[in-house]
């Protein structure tokens, strides 16, 4: 039975309003929220892309560098969000030499960039830069989410340049029954969208992500914020995450067109029908060791979408790591910090 009385509700609402009033003042004083904490240096630039090297902190460094290829959607500082939530820091501490591609923010002059530009040119040039710089014939690649799909394409096309491949929360089969993003985009006229916008606005993609759980992500989350509004540390953590969620770069039009149509709508990656530039991607050409990391409660990239890689690759050394968490938790949860970077590092260092 509802034990609530009007008096009790009025008391709660008074308390809530008072905390809200204090909270708004605190928010006004908190200043800029920084994200991305580990020291790094830019080592290569091309167009809007910047290749960073994170400064090593372990006494012994593995000679083969690891290049992180993040998604084009959202910003890569999720991998290095704050002191106690940094996948990159975990890898550095384990002795991995970490590099990361920051794609920057595409603008009108980038609307004609294709997936061919991203895979052959941008990833290709970064990989070649590291191979030359470090005198390595091949390097390690870690692709994250959409960046994982791009990494699969690159590694299939240039297997001789990739020593080991790690994919993280990476969609491979886009037509598993539980893939909600595919369900949402299936009836969207992607050609009309790209022809109309040029570059696809980040706000549109943000809407799609929030629409998966609007009562929690756009309502309850802010009501709950009042509970921690006087805890400066917790408030900054919240704002850091908010910054990341809302920091959605526009998507280069032609690359978006191909990714949305070929990967999401037509599921060509699993059919061996994706063409990057003039070359066809065949996942059976993935002959290097592969570690496929997925999140068991991932609502964006369902585990089945990632695990499809098992039956499609040509590697004799394929393994999976299941993380008990979601698509965001795999980067920032306490459990992730304890489990994921050490496991990836151990897998890499053993090869």
């Amino acid at each position: 039975m509802i034990g609530l009385t009007p008096e009790r509700i009025a008391e709660e609402l008074r308390g809530y309003s008072a905390r809200l009033s204090e909270g708004v003042q605190t928010l006004g004083r908190i200043g800029e929220i920084e994200a991305g904490v580990s020291a790094r240096d830019a080592v290569y630039r091309e167009d809007k892309l910047t290749l960073y090297r994170y400064r090593p902190c372990a006494e012994t460094l593995h000679p083969v560098p690891l290049l992180i290829v993040y998604a084009l959607v959202n910003r890569p500082y999720m991998m290095d969000l704050q002191e106690d939530r940094s996948m990159i820091r975990g890898l550095l501490e384990a002795g991995v030499d970490v590099y990361l591609i920051d794609w920057g923010y595409p603008d009108a002059e980038d609307r004609r960039l294709t997936l061919g530009d991203y895979v052959h040119r941008y990833i290709g040039h970064c990989v070649d830069h590291l191979r030359e710089r470090l005198g390595q014939g091949s390097i390690n690649l870690l692709g994250v989410c959409q960046g994982g799909a791009l990494s699969l394409c690159f590694s299939s096309l240039y297997p001789e340049k990739v020593r080991n491949l790690v994919t993280m929360v990476t969609p491979v089969d886009f037509h598993t029954p539980d893939n909600v993003l595919t369900h949402l985009i299936r009836h969207v006229d992607v050609d009309l969208m790209v022809d109309t916008f040029g570059n696809v606005p980040g706000a549109m993609l943000n809407f799609a992500f929030l629409s998966l759980s609007p009562f929690r992500l756009a309502g309850q989350k802010y009501v709950d914020l009042i509970d921690v509004i006087d805890d400066l540390g917790a408030l900054k953590n919240f704002l850091r995450m908010e910054k990341w969620i809302n920091d959605s770069p526009d998507q280069a039009g032609e690359a978006f067109r191909q990714f949305a149509k070929d990967f999401f709508q037509q599921n060509k990656l699993v059919k061996g029908e994706v063409s990057i530039g003039d070359r066809q991607v065949d996942l059976r050409d993935l002959t290097m060791p592969i570690l496929n990391v997925y999140a068991a409660q991932d609502h964006l990239v369902p585990p089945a979408a990632s695990k499809a890689l098992a039956g499609l690759n040509g590697s004799r050394d394929y393994s999976e790591l299941s993380f008990q968490g979601g698509h965001i938790g795999i980067y920032v949860s306490g459990r992730a910090q304890r489990e994921v970077p050490p496991a990836i590092a151990a897998w890499l260092l053993a090869r």
């Binding site: 034990g3 609530l4 009790r8 910047t50 009836h187 006229d189 309850q220 920091d247």
Partner: protein, 198 residues
């Protein structure tokens, strides 16, 4: 090439306190609505009426307001702020990318878009109504096991759970997928230079 702090041409993305305030207003509206509900429930319960039937009457009233089938402007307006979360998100996104009603009068394409938006709203209404059914059922289940709801936040969280549940079911359905596509396409058609398809 040392570059420890630079982020390539990052646009500012400050946290918008207005958004927090907006959600807080919705929560306060929820509280006021539940306060009226609670007053009615307790007053009539003391008069000896059956708790279950009173609960049903109140939820019937909420549902009617949600579905827009009664003239109860006060209740509907408060309720709107809560269950139209999704439509509000859509409108904010459309506004954020600078799309709005065409200058110089409504076009056929714009009217077509508004019709699709109305259909979208109808689907959201059905989901919200189903959430109220679920909430009522959960309250009955709790009552049957002697569990009480002792705070507004607890009731709000339960209401959110119910809405996420019914919304999630709707989201994964074929009708929503098709309508979501038409919502995007009809909006884009308003700004497209491409000739309308037959």
């Amino acid at each position: 090439m040392s570059d420890q702090t630079e982020t390539p041409t990052a646009p500012p993305n400050p946290f918008d306190a207005e958004f927090l305030i907006k959600q807080a207003r919705s929560y306060l509206a929820f509280g006021e609505q539940m306060s009226a509900f609670s007053a009615q429930l307790h007053g009539r319960f003391q008069d000896g009426e059956d708790w279950g039937s009173m609960l049903r009457q109140n939820f019937d009233r909420f549902k009617a307001a949600t579905l827009g089938s009664v003239e109860d402007a006060g209740t509907a307006s408060e309720h709107d702020q809560l269950w139209t979360q999704m439509l509000e998100l859509w409108r904010q996104s459309v506004s954020a990318i600078g799309l709005g009603a065409p200058v110089g009068g409504e076009t056929d394409a714009w009217r077509g878009y508004m019709q699709v938006q109305d259909q979208y709203l109808d689907l959201l209404r059905q989901s919200a109504s189903a959430a109220l059914d679920l909430l009522e059922q959960r309250l009955r289940d709790r009552a049957a096991t002697g569990k009480s709801i002792d705070s507004l936040r607890e009731l709000y969280n339960l209401w959110v759970d119910c809405n996420e549940k019914t919304y999630g079911q709707m989201l994964r359905g074929a009708e929503y997928g098709e309508l979501n596509g038409r919502l995007f396409n009809s909006l884009l058609q308003c700004y497209s230079k491409r000739e309308a398809r037959p």
